[in-house]
């Protein structure tokens, strides 16, 4: 595709508006969650201590003033320091980005590795009895909540068989169970999308044409039907990315994986506003980046879209 400078500028404008709306929504929502000064002083705090902490952090200022100052600080990329430990909130968050992206990336790879072949197999001849049974298994897998899958896998592979570790994030062995747990959420859905698309594509006109011109069935599947199905997979993976980034929290909790989701939950339950704000900001930027990437990928995979120039 061609690089259109105007499109890039427009994209940046969209990003700016998007980030402004995310941080604004967040700022006002946080006001509803509570008063961090109370969490900081705890249950043995005195009224004087509360007063002092509110003053120290500027919670006693009018809301509009706090909001403006928040935006001004953000514009300078200053997220402030964590209420809990005085560390710069942004660097606390960035420490978690690596592990989060690693887990997300691995689970998307695992999902594709499971869902594409399985979906192609199920979709190529959807009426075969063993494939109907496979389809039902996929339905069932979809109904199992992530934490159940995770705990059961630990029980089997770590506790009983002792094949795999269930904690830590150093080394390939520690990646396997968290990756599978997160993939267990996405893979059944994707399998069904791929299966449906493959079934559909096998009947499309151009496949019939290809078949008429003498291509074998497996060639049809790999050369024609599957690329089409991948389009659907890309869309689904792109759409679920936001979920994977912040929604991986259950996997992170179970496997002691130092990701963004758990940091965010902890910060939210202790009202550590700077950390919440930095985390949500970083997540928003990541989601935006991946959506942009998905769009580009889309045009790359599907030539029809390129020519249509959507």
């Amino acid at each position: 595709m061609s690089f259109d400078a105007r499109a890039v500028v427009r994209r940046i404008g969209v990003l700016a508006v998007f980030l402004l709306s995310v941080v604004t929504l967040l700022f006002f929502l946080l006001q509803l969650t509570g008063d961090p000064a109370e969490v900081m002083v705890g249950d043995s705090g005195t009224p004087e201590q509360l007063e002092q902490v509110r003053k120290q952090y500027g919670f006693d200022r009018p809301l509009a003033e706090q909001y403006v100052r928040y935006l001004v600080n953000l514009a300078q990329f200053d997220f402030g320091v964590s209420f809990a430990n005085d560390q710069p909130a942004f660097s606390l968050v960035m420490d978690r980005v690596g592990p989060t992206l690693l887990l997300t990336f691995l689970s998307i790879i695992a999902t594709l590795a499971i869902a594409v072949p399985l979906g192609a197999w199920l979709g190529a001849r959807p009426d075969a009895p063993e494939r109907i049974a496979g389809g039902i298994a996929v339905y069932i897998a979809q109904g199992v909540p992530g934490f159940v899958a995770g705990l059961l896998m630990i029980q089997l592979f770590a506790v009983h068989l002792r094949w795999l570790p269930s904690i830590g994030h150093e080394g390939v062995a520690t990646w396997i169970l968290p990756t599978l747990t997160l993939a267990s959420f996405l893979a059944p859905k994707l399998t069904r999308v791929v299966a449906a698309n493959v079934t559909e594509a096998m009947r499309e006109d151009y496949i019939r044409t290809a078949r008429a011109s003498g291509a074998g069935p497996s060639g049809l599947l790999w050369r024609h039907a599957l690329p089409n199905a991948l389009l659907g997979a890309t869309a689904l993976v792109g759409a679920q990315f936001a979920f994977l980034i912040s929604g991986a929290v259950i996997t992170e909790v179970i496997f002691a994986w130092p990701g963004l989701g758990w940091l965010l939950v902890k910060a939210t339950t202790t009202l550590d506003f700077p950390v919440i704000q930095a985390a949500v900001f970083v997540i928003a930027v990541l989601v935006f980046a991946v959506n942009t990437l998905t769009d580009v990928l889309f045009r790359f995979i599907d030539p029809r879209l390129r020519t249509k120039g959507i």
Binding site: A37, S44, N85, A256, T269
Partner: protein, 519 residues
Amino acid sequence: MIPAFFSRGGLFRGAAAVFFCIGLAGATSAADMSQTVRVGVNDLPPGKGNPFSALGSPSIYTWSAIFDSLTRVDDQGIAQPMLAVKWENTDPKTWRFTLRDGVKFSNGEALTSAAVIAGFEYIKSGKAGRSPVVGEMRGVTAAKAVSDNVVEFTTGRPDPILPNRIAALKLVAPKHWAEKGPEGYATEPVGTGSYKLVSWDANKVTLEAFDGSWRAPGVGKLEIIELPERSARVQALLSGQVDIVTGLSTDDIPVIEGAGYKVDIKPAAQVMSLALPLVKKNADKKLVDLDTPFKDVRVRQALNYAVDKEGIAKGILAGHAKAAGQGATPAAFGYNPDVSPFPYDPAKAKALLAEAGYADGISFEAEVVTGSFPGDSEIYQKMAQDMAAAGIKVTLRRITFPDWLSKYLGRKSWEGQAFGMSWNSAPYIDSIRPIVLFSCFNPFTFTCDANVRGMVIKANGEFDPAKRKAILRNIHKANRAAPPAVFLVEQIDLFGLSGKVKDFKQTNRWIAYHDISIN
């Protein structure tokens, strides 16, 4: 007043110090660097390595490896020597502590009075606004170095339990502290404890033996890993990935023991209760009476009779906890052994309610926080079930801890009529702490009994431990007669240990890492 008595107390404590030193004398050779102990904890210290940022758990699990304070309160509620070897009153408002000789911080600084003064000055500087240590040091007006190894604290009014209270003040290496401040200390903590920091990662703290410590450990490496999910902690223990886990529940005991592992069960210094608020602070910051059925003491008694606390202790906590009848555990100073829990008597509960004019029963909402104690969610639910059987309909509202705090600290008002509340004698294991917190002296109190108020004033000025104990016991007796809360159970702390961990000891969640050995 009677300083003579106090030097006697000091002597007694000196004797205890000798025992303590012997206990530590074994660890003189260098630690075995081929050994590692891994600990799975609910949470790492939120304030990281800034030892003034919190008190108690979860921070204490990690900090007890790194930091020490002048004293430590044992499981009998008595202050034991740590970095101070003895202490005495030179007059009722002055406490003089003598520091242990030859103690070094892990960065090489020597322990002198300057370390105590550095921490104390920070607490008093106004920069430590949110530190819970500020509240614990409220009555202490000044600290000064009498010599290199003698520190003197002055209190505003006589403070008989300062040696217990001072345990909250962990000692920092003064030069390092001056250089780094609280922000720098958070990532580069330095203490006198058994271990020194190697790295502080997002969910793991790696430490190694500080061989020059006055309580040097035998095991060379220590890893503390955050595992927030309880079932995952159990799994990590059972799969041999960690050696010690914190925060278990009694239902984990058969699982852990069944797999050939061990559990360490100790009473916690906390009593679980359902507070029955009678007063609240109004806009003018004055306490006003609430219009509630709990005004009638018979209703409060009825609620206490209605709950089968023995059933909770036996059924939910597998007999490892005890039913509570007062806001103190046996270890806490001032606990009254003669005050028994309310017997389970639904008929009497009904009768008392009828007498108070509620023959048809009452109904109310209770706001509770769950997930802080073994089985707490089940305990509240069982309480509600029992009360329902006596015609008392309780709707439980589970709220978040920040929300609970907002309501407790009075910015928001309670939506229910009762709320879950723990009577916590930690950190100094003296029952005066919850008593003062839940008395007219705390602006955030939910109850204010004139009778108790008078006794609290007396206790606060009483230096003679025996007399002070007698007053505190009377307060517990008064609180049994006119209960400010439904006392449920004395809580417990449960740790899981793998087979290879030996000599594990913990007191009020302070883990004696220096004693641990591995085979």
